[in-house]
Symmetry: C2
Subunit: 259 residues, 2 copies
């Protein structure tokens, strides 16, 4: 392996910088191509380095690079869920959803290949990474609803919006996990339908579904009902819940035989 033809910039990178550069090149390729269509040569030439250098950093080859790229994407995705604890819950969720959908938009092919499965490079380790992202998303939502989570073992702070600090019950956890699945499924359908409807409409529709699922669960579960009632106090008349409620009226208004 000769370094005679390398540009100065080639050598100036530290080990960490080089590793980051290779992962970033791999992520770009995996994000826009199914994993089976990405070769180590592609990664090397995208990063402007030799194939042996890629192997020096990733002796496990494509599988190891894929996992490192996935790990990096998972870290980025988990950043989307961090949100301050102020204002109506639906506004917080809308901001997190905007960041999440921007990620989906920017990593479309890779996101699809990853979540749809069937890829040659999927293993129990890659599944564990995807599951961790889902769990982080669920934990963040439960935290904002006022619950203690693994990441925040003492529950939310002192701002009054979330006073409980114990663990959520099974029905509420199932509702939240289910909605996260809804978001994933809707994102895949959205990519499949060439990103229609516009992303803002998709976001509003997912917010509606969150409210609808939580409301439906609240009718059968006292804990969820308490959470919903406290969350509704924070909502504003012009916010998503108020709008949803007012849009619902004309649909059901003459169906009094059901009440």
């Amino acid at each position: 392996m000769s370094s005679s033809g390398t540009a100065p910039a080639y050598r100036r990178l530290t080990v960490d910088q080089r590793r980051t550069q290779l992962i970033s090149a791999a992520l770009g390729l995996f994000a826009h191509n199914p994993p089976e269509d990405v070769s180590l040569d592609d990664v090397a030439s995208t990063a402007g380095v030799s194939r042996p250098l890629v192997y020096r950093y990733f002796p496990g080859g494509k599988q190891q690079l894929y996992e490192a790229a996935l790990r990096s994407a998972a870290d980025e995705l988990e950043q989307c869920f961090a949100e301050s604890q102020t204002g109506p819950l639906t506004s917080r969720l809308a901001r997190a959803l905007d960041r999440y959908l921007a990620f989906v938009d920017g990593h479309d092919a890779g996101f699809m290949a990853l979540l749809q499965g069937g890829s040659v490079v999927q293993t129990s380790r890659t599944h564990a990474i995807v599951d961790e992202v889902r769990r982080t998303a669920a934990d963040q939502i439960l935290f904002h609803l006022g619950f203690r989570t693994e990441a925040a073992p003492h529950g939310p702070g002192e701002d009054g919006s979330a006073p409980q600090g114990h663990q959520a019950g099974p029905r509420l956890r199932m509702t939240v996990s289910t909605w996260i699945t809804v978001v994933e499924a809707a994102s895949l359908i959205w990519l499949d339908e060439e990103k229609q409807p516009p992303v803002g409409e998709l976001r509003d529709w997912l917010l509606d579904h969150f409210v609808a699922l939580l409301m439906a669960s609240a009718t059968r579960d006292a804990e969820t009902a308490g959470i919903v009632r406290r969350a509704l106090d924070l909502e504003e008349r012009d916010g998503p819940v108020g709008e949803l409620a007012r849009r619902m009226l004309p649909v059901v208004t003459d169906k009094v035989h059901l009440l």
Copy 2:
């Protein structure tokens, strides 16, 4: 390969009967064990035949047997969705859900391994089979909502409950597909939580979610609103929608700042 030790019953089976017997043995094994733990020897000994005989019927070995077993399970699952076109929509859906959840209950490990992915025997062909089951479920629901589908190109019959016979728009299709994902995800969580809550509660909760998702979509989509209004006319006061509406009231009743 000697046939000296075989019982008379061994030879009496026709080719089709033998094939069916082997698939049924494989399905039983795949339903209760992760695919990687099932060997051809297991299938042979469960069916009471020799390993070479299994290979004669399935020269592709375990992969071919797995796909045949999956195909057979998919056919069985698709039967769950067939439902007559009478009565409130939620009653039809409840009956289909009962059959589906009974299938999940009876094929727990295999169902989980299949839908969670990551199995060594998963290929684009097995994914296509799973996708076909999802599409069949979606088509059945859209058919009952009054739409033309691939399986019923002229739409529903003359019984008046479903007078349209054109294709559903993208938002309604997305709502239905999303709910099917909810059912799958909730089924997996249910298996993971040792089949808690009781299956009847899970069924009612999934029905609530169907109504809630459809209602939320109806507020943004005229087509869905029309469908919901017609469906509500068929619902009974003591049915799931009436009960959901009455249970919803105490949760929201003093939140007038949102209306």
